[in-house]
Symmetry: C2
Subunit: 228 residues, 2 copies
DNA sequence: GCAAAAGTGTTAAGGGTACACCCATGT
DNA sequence: ACATGGGTGTACCCTTAACACTTTTGC
């Protein structure tokens, strides 16, 4: 900003928070981790998880702290989505909130942490009523995810390191909410040399078994031609 | 956010601001409106224009207020870009700033307002040194603009209501910073039926004269197939 | 041997890109 | 008549989209 800060120092009284939209993938569906509010206002409703940021804390760090507190996970890929700043958006007072979207592996998070918050996974097409403007936050995060997932290799964050192509395709179908042609999908994957096929197979989903692949980040850096 | 606000009410001391990235188009170049800081800190350097937001003011409204204060223009198309929240980003204290990008007609703004701020236009490939992280703000806004301008009819905000195809092409070349094939460009324009050709010509740029076009918003709403 | 999921190629259509000349007019 | 910027069409290539059968193996 550009005006003398002293002019306002005494009078501005606005809280700053982050809210996390946490995506997971399970049972071929894109899911969201929400917490059951045990406190006022809007006690009993569902909400995203968020926190106020610390006076000396980077905004990004606050988002990571929130995610860690809920899931026990660190070094998770997060993206800032949008800042929500309507004057009356939070009934408990003036709060501006920046949203971050994260993708975690449902198999990896720490259940203890999650239980502490009464958190629960919901498929994105069957969300409960959310507090404040959290529904808008979710919608914008999903929209952004659908846009970005086609051009950047970020969806892999929702799968284990080793994954099969049927898994990957199901993930994309779940995120984009539309069927994908198997052969066209696999041809595209074949062009991405940083998606490396292993000789090992996953035998848990079929009798024939599906080859495992992994995303080789170093190879991706060389030629970033992602497009699905 | 999700924790009891009272827990933090007394201790959080963070200011909230907006900064505006104001684009203009002149002499076939994309330009940016910057102000010369007449106050500390960083007095004498150039910066984006911004303000702290009011206690009861929507974040979007604050951005519009800032733009109005500088240009005298209202109802200008603006988009939120990104929020910058590093703890030490502003040397005058803890300030979080959300950036907005706007596009204005250089021929329309109120020079009186502008002069009051010692504002000046700079071509985007020749910017002066900027305060704090304003350079990052500008970079992310330009990147976003380049992405969005291909898929949404927003560039028209940088041209008068009636414009010619040579003008429009030069605008796109200026924004994208790359040459565009004239015939391919015009074929695409021809497909967009909401770009309506007038019988009137602009005779100021050539002897032959170039037909005026205008962007018909109502027609666009019907089939939103923008792609340049 | 059969059910169930994994894996594999070809064709047609549309979109993108590259490219060179004529037109209208003011001087 | 010539200089200047406005306007036009075609061929090739690559990407996308549609579509059906074979393979493997546990039961």
């Amino acid at each position: 900003m550009t005006v003398d800060i002293r002019k306002y120092k005494e009078i501005q009284q606005i809280k700053v928070a982050v809210d996390c939209i946490i995506f997971g993938f399970n049972d071929n569906r894109l899911e969201l981790l929400l917490i059951h509010r045990g406190f006022q206002p809007e006690k009993g409703k569902w909400s995203l998880i968020g926190e106020f940021i610390g006076n000396d804390e980077d905004l990004d760090d606050a988002a990571n702290r929130v995610l860690y507190g809920l899931s026990g996970l660190e070094n998770i890929y997060m993206e800032q989505v949008k800042t929500f700043g309507k004057a009356n958006r939070d009934s408990s007072g003036r709060v501006i909130s920046t949203t971050y979207s994260a993708m975690i592996l449902k198999s990896q998070y720490n259940e203890e942490h999650v239980n502490k918050y009464n958190a629960k996974w919901f498929p994105i097409d069957n969300l409960p009523e959310l507090v404040f403007d959290h529904r808008d936050m979710v919608d914008s995060a999903i929209k952004r995810l659908r846009r970005r997932v086609r051009n950047f290799p970020i969806a892999f964050n929702l799968l284990p390191e080793k994954f099969t192509l049927p898994q990957l395709q199901a993930l994309y179908e779940g995120i984009l909410n539309e069927p994908i042609d198997k052969r066209n999908f696999r041809r595209k994957v074949a062009q991405m040399k940083y998606l490396v096929k292993l000789s090992e197979k996953d035998m848990s989903e079929s009798k024939k078994g599906a080859y495992y692949y992994y995303f080789d980040e170093a190879l991706y850096e060389i030629e970033q031609n992602f497009n699905l």
